[in-house]
């Protein structure tokens, strides 16, 4: 099997209905606007911990997840808010999660978009990069063993391909011919490290032949191209023909997280991508000029997104903080409750007020 590097031409994917074509814009717009809301909340210090953006990468997340069926399962990474929304995660859940509320999907245990729901078909990531590749090999192995008509998709960044777990997982899935799609989101950087320091390969898609799997590469900022390439890989997996590595070329316009000032990015690079290659701008142009949608249709989506995010924010702000003792619940199935340590018997809360250190992660150079 060989890597085909040519991106499928994708301005008119005949398989998508007009509603679906608009829906793609809805998910991208929702992703971007929700993150913008999170920035506001972050500045108001209501977000606990770091804030990770996918600005400029909305097409790669949304278009790829859109190629899956409801019964399929994906595993998102930190730039895949859009993929999770497509899979049914709600803005309310995202907001509660970032604000560490007691009724957030992880009840305040995990950060940002680190959560999942097997019912809706997404499995939460952990921080350790690459780890989700073997896990998704196992998820898709179960589909194969049970003869289920289901497919899995796992995202990794350009940086995460350097981990041992990535290599072991993709190779395992390849050998087992698991119905898995591995999406490499090449956004140019891993934190401050450019792709040229991550791999000596010319393209990530070139790694596919080494694993004996198919490889596809697509313009990650063209949502229809992303959809088409991923759909092809999903169809391959569904047909029992094993793993495909899909490299999506995109660009991380914000820092690794909100605190990162991107001092390492060459002058003008970000502005160029923003001006010339914004995935939302590009898709609006396609919708208007090639697909015949009018301005009203676009404005309608934007209004709907705005209203949904406002409503979700109001509700999330009313959400309670976690009850301290909930931290003891659920390490094991049996026993369900970890014992409270002797020195804390009868104590409801460990401290009177909870210090909120500014920036748990990293710091701008001073």
């Amino acid at each position: 099997m060989t890597a085909s590097r040519a991106a499928p031409a994708a301005s008119h994917p005949s398989a998508l209905s007009r509603d679906q074509l608009l829906e793609l814009y809805y998910w991208m717009r929702l992703t971007r606007s929700l993150e913008e809301r999170l920035v506001n909340l972050y500045r108001q210090t209501k977000v606990v911990g770091g804030l990770f953006r996918s600005l400029g990468q909305e097409a790669d997340a949304v278009g790829s997840a859109f190629a899956l069926e409801r019964r399929d399962v994906l595993s998102p990474l930190i730039r895949n808010l859009g993929s999770m929304l497509v899979k049914g995660a709600t803005p309310l859940e995202i907001l509660r999660q970032y604000m560490a509320r007691g009724d957030s999907p992880t009840r305040g245990r995990e950060l940002n978009i680190h959560f999942g729901d097997t019912e809706r078909g997404f499995i939460g990531q952990i921080s350790h990069l690459g780890d989700m590749v073997p896990v998704m090999a196992g998820v898709t192995l179960s589909f194969k063993l049970r003869g289920e008509d289901r497919v899995g998709l796992v995202y990794v960044g350009d940086g995460a391909t350097s981990t041992g777990a990535f290599h072991e997982g993709i190779n395992f899935a390849a050998v087992q011919r698991c119905p898995l799609v591995v999406v490499v989101e090449n956004n140019g950087y891993a934190y401050s490290t450019p792709v040229s320091r991550q791999t000596a390969a010319r393209h990530f898609v070139d790694k596919a032949p080494g694993y004996g799997i198919r490889g596809l590469q697509a313009d990650g900022n063209d949502v229809l191209a992303v959809y088409q390439a991923t759909k092809e890989a999903v169809d391959t997996a569904r047909a029992g023909e094993g793993v495909t590595l899909v490299e999506l070329i995109t660009y991380r316009r914000k820092g690794h997280a909100e605190h990162d000032n991107q001092s390492y990015v060459p002058e003008g690079e970000i502005d160029r991508w923003a001006a010339e290659n914004d995935p939302l701008d590009r898709y609006v142009r396609v919708l208007r000029t090639q697909l015949g949608f009018d301005a009203e249709a676009i404005a309608g989506i934007e209004a709907r997104v705005g209203a949904e995010i406002d409503a979700a924010t109001d509700e999330a702000e009313r959400s309670p903080m976690p009850e301290p003792r909930d931290c003891l619940v659920g390490v094991y199935h049996d026993p369900p409750l970890a014992p409270v340590l002797w020195y804390r018997e009868g104590v409801r809360s460990a401290v009177d007020s909870h210090e909120r250190p500014q920036g748990w992660g990293t710091y701008d150079a001073r």
């Binding site: 606990v48 305040g108 245990r109 995990e110 976690p322 301290p324 804390r344 460990a350």
Partner: protein, 332 residues
Amino acid sequence: MTPAEAATGEITYLEAIREALFEEMERDPNVFCLGEDIGRYGGAFKVTNGLIDRFGENRVIDTPISEAAIVGAAAGAAHMGLRPVCEMQFIDFISCAYDMLTNYVATARYRAFLPCPMVVRGPSGGYVRGGPFHSQNPEAAFLHTPGLKIVYPATASDAKGLLKSAIRDEDCVLFFEHKYLYRRVKEAMPAGDHIVPIGKARIAREGRDLSIITYAATVWKALEAAEQLEREDGLSVEVLDLRSLLPMDDEAIVATVRRTNRVLVVHEDTETGGIAGEITARINDLAFEWLDAPVKRVAAHDVPLPYAPALEDFVLPQTSDIVRAARWLAAY
């Protein structure tokens, strides 16, 4: 040193680590650093800021996201006479190099007579709302591995002096840095080539009634508790900062037990399998007859560290816990 630092003479825990790296790289051309984003960017926490300007890309190497390769390559380079200092972007990712460290590095000298003088350092610890994968204290996982050394300083001058010792050590030293302390504690550095020997504890506060044995961020909580106990209960509390966990300073542990006869062991890591168990066993072996009360532990609850402030604060030991536990011990 920046002009501001020169004026007060005080530098932070983080700057002290950087100073140690600078001085050791200056002193010995075999010392080099490798890790993720440590070059031009200066590292996620800026610990290595400026090193690349002084020492260049060959001695400050930005690596792919490959912890096993970072540690494994450091071992190979160390065999050949270099002195690598590896940075884990967060110490939580040292787990990706666990195999390399425990199987390859730790056994190299014993099984193959291969020297492995290297350091693995990185930001550790909680109280920062980092959640389960940016808050870990994995020291106990390595305490059980003969062949590794472990240090975990609490003060800026110890951070500097211990890192310099670690780089000069003939074996692999795991150097845990507490990120809560990075910019919170400051100190003037002793003049000259400041070295703190590995394996020696430090009395952080002298006392007669009760001893708290601890290390890293909880040293500061213990000191806070000691002050409160003195003020409110008239108790004289000694605080022993272990600084080195492997080898452990048995002499200092026994000495404090003999002075106060009551011991509380405090650490931020989870209780079960934590280092407090090892310390307690040593006291039992070496100084049982000097005890007037059972050795008690204050450590984290046995759960993964959650992210929400109310949850994290409940899981981790707090100053008020140390006060409560110390009162119980004093009354025993």
